[in-house]
Point group: C2
DNA sequence: AAATGTGTTATACTTTTATAGTACACTACT
DNA sequence: AGTAGTGTACTATAAAAGTATAACACATTT
């Protein structure tokens, strides 16, 4: 689930953290009302400084995805779980793409391009 | 094709530039042996400084995707064009995903997760 | 030889990202 | 009241990313 940040990816740590938390919520591993691990725990899990955690959480709060309660903790505010069918669709596509020796990065690049054009 | 960098995305400019060039090559819009636009032109197109362009091109060169020729230009060295079927697969998936009101960012998050698990 | 177009390098500066450490404030519980 | 667990705020420091500007070096054309 929550893994240490990749410090060599070039992507800012706070963005990676935001994305991992968003992913957990989208996949239903964290649900509305759930309490997030304490900032000191998150700091340990992600392997970054408290300030970096704070920046991620503050941004997530601005996006309305989590909510802070002083002295208590952070809570999931967003209830938008994705349709399980989404995972099915992607699994089938990924199976085919892997057979064609596609790598993840290139796939994402093409996906972004296709996304602009479709519809 | 080549668009100005998004300075508010949080993704470093040199990474965005690398990705756009990789995409052009993967889609077959740039082919083996083709000359890239001059650095001063790229600077104009992407809306960044020459040094940022140089950083992107040097990294692409290290990855074996382009090659520099001093005083002449940069050339595409990589010939790996993707199978057009890849675009077909993704187009169909994107159509369905858009019907379910999925957004691009969430889709990419789930895709990364699915990529790890499949096969 | 000169001019032009190309890549290359250097310097100084600003902003963003991240680390580290410390202290403070609020809540829940006994 | 006290204490443990939580978030919050502040300062200082450093590293990375990007900008602005200028000069330099190589290749091609005239």
């Amino acid at each position: 689930m929550l893994e240490p940040v990749d410090k060599h990816s070039g992507i800012p740590a706070y963005l990676q953290i935001m994305n991992m938390i968003k992913k957990e919520i989208a996949l239903g591993n964290m649900n509305f009302g759930d309490q997030l691990p304490p900032v000191r725990e998150l700091k340990r899990v992600f392997g970054v400084n408290v300030n970096t955690i704070m920046k991620s959480l503050e941004k997530l709060q601005m996006e309305g995805i989590v909510e802070a309660q002083h002295g208590v903790g952070y809570f999931v505010k967003n209830s938008k779980i994705i349709n399980p069918k989404v995972v099915d669709i992607l699994e089938k596509s990924v199976e085919e793409l892997k057979k064609m020796n596609m790598d993840l990065n290139t796939t994402i690049l093409i996906l972004e391009e296709v996304w602009k054009k479709v519809e």
